[in-house]
Assembly symmetry: C2
Homo-oligomer: 327 residues x 2
């Protein structure tokens, strides 16, 4: 099996280091596994005999790799590589899904399976990608797009066979959860908590994508389309973020043994809202943890909690990779 | 695919009713699915053309099924049926694993896959069963033996590929969790809480198996052997049940925002102990919920919560059934 990696940011580099660490396990499933190419936004490296994982996984920038750095777009690598799998780890863009969408479509059209952490393509074109993949007989796996390391799609596929999922709820955005936890435990205001999150690199300079609930809304789009068989877009999700939360609401919730949380939900309705939930409820996770609650007809409720972001996310990508059929 | 069911108690009958409810879903995976036989401790019914699920799933006792009730042991059904799968749902016996152990071994020797909810055989003979199954090229799936409807073994197999599980902790016994919750929330003593559990049918007349931590210990044996590659027996598990818990301990824990729980653990040590855990920790579930926490090298911690007993348990058996290779 030959794989290529497109995207050399935090997730791409973390994936490489997990790949290097777990290469023996991967070779047990795919005896001839090779990573033959890697691309960032400036170009790519390619070696049909396989790149040197030890050398590659230590790099900050791909251009430092000893070998020819070809200043052409990743699409060229996808098309010339003849690889079996594309690992897509470029940043999320929810406006048009690019460049991830083009990478994924090109890969599928070339008969490649895809493993990705990039939400964008699935927010704007879930149905299109899945139909194309079915037509070409390839797999597109995207466990890492929602809930980081938490098994969601692989769990629904492999652990709830026969049960119908009727509703999915979750705490799915780390930035807002950090801010709300700060406000709850330290009783500081939204602006101050946001500033701290920004200083720690947990919130962007323009924090709107997170604090206004758009990221959580995108995750609801993917959950609804993947698990409930819907065909919705972000415009179908009713969203109320955390920007308006006041200290009075925080303290009132605390007084009742509750905490304000940004709760995302897909069921009869599709929504993201800031609301109090009991501190001792299983969904009420703090810090970097995410939580997902499935309601099902046969298994009842199943709640899964785990790291929603960070290095652990690549565990979901490694699981996806090892779930592919051998080639 | 032809299946037979052995065991016609609560789990066996609940399985039948789920089978009837989900027959269309099952036929999507196994187009020619038939249940050809069913046995209880007094005998069995058999029809090579398939039993009538609608008639069968309403019965309290198998003898009421319209058709010949053969007063011979289930082993005869297993050997004559020529079925592809044994659904084993007899009660747990941790002394010698019988009659489940013999049923499972006979089925495997006859080239049948096995799906079971019966802990006993895996507590006394995990390695033996798995070796035999490997030799015969069949699958033995036992998701329902630990944590009821919670995906544990299927999750480890399908959702954590590439990650190594280093430690498993859990709240895995419903009876003790009910008693401890009663003591915690209503501040009543152990004896009174136990009596209430017995009146509700949640505890046996001889409650020792649950309250002395033996049931949780058995589950640790299965978790350690299945997920950590160990080869332990119940004698390797250090067990301290809930019988000695005093109201003082309960109140002291409450004062600290904690609750006493029967926590089972497999890692460097194998143990079951009653100890306070924070009320807001994800493991701290109440009532009929169980919780399992995996520590892994790549995915970090993953916690799964769900119904640990009751009708929901059969969801795990249906998932196991649908995970088998088609025949």
């Amino acid at each position: 099996m030959e794989a290529i990696l497109v995207g050399f940011g935090f997730i791409g580099r973390s994936f490489l280091s997990a790949l290097k660490e777990k290469i023996r396990v991967i070779e047990k499933t795919f005896p001839n596994f090779k990573l033959t190419g890697a691309a960032n936004k400036n170009g790519y490296v390619f070696d049909e005999n396989g790149l040197d994982l030890a050398k590659l996984s230590g790099l900050r920038d791909l251009i430092q790799y000893p070998g020819r750095f070809i200043r052409e777009p990743a699409v060229e690598l996808i098309e010339r590589s003849g690889a079996d799998v594309l690992i897509e780890a470029t940043p999320t863009n929810i406006v048009d899904g690019e460049p991830g969408l083009t990478h994924i479509v090109k890969a599928v059209e070339n008969g490649m399976d895809v493993v990705t952490s990039n939400k964008g393509p699935f927010v704007v074109a879930f149905g299109k990608i899945m139909k194309l993949a079915e037509k070409r007989g390839v797999e597109v796996l995207y466990e890492a797009t929602v809930g980081g390391a938490i098994p969601i799609f692989s769990l629904a596929r492999n652990c709830l066979r026969g049960s119908r999922i009727t509703r999915v709820q979750g705490i799915l955005n780390g930035t807002t959860n950090y801010i709300l936890s700060k406000m709850h435990f330290e009783e500081i205001g939204f602006e101050e908590a946001l500033r701290e999150a920004q200083e720690k690199g947990l919130a962007e300079t323009d924090p709107s994508y997170d604090v206004d609930g758009i990221d959580a809304g995108c995750k609801i789009v993917i959950l609804a389309n993947a698990l409930l068989g819907k065909n919705i877009t972000i415009r179908d999700v009713k969203i109320r973020g955390i920007r308006e939360v006041t200290m009075e609401e925080i303290i009132e919730a605390k007084r009742k043994g509750m905490a304000l949380k940004l709760v995302a939900e897909a069921g009869e309705e599709f929504k993201v809202e800031t609301k109090p939930i009991p501190l001792d409820s299983s969904l009420c996770v703090h810090g970097s943890l995410n939580a997902v609650r499935f309601e099902t007809d046969l298994a009842g409720e199943i709640i899964v909690i785990g790291h929603g972001a960070g290095r652990e996310t690549v565990a979901a990508m490694i699981n996806d990779l090892l779930s592919l059929r051998p080639r």
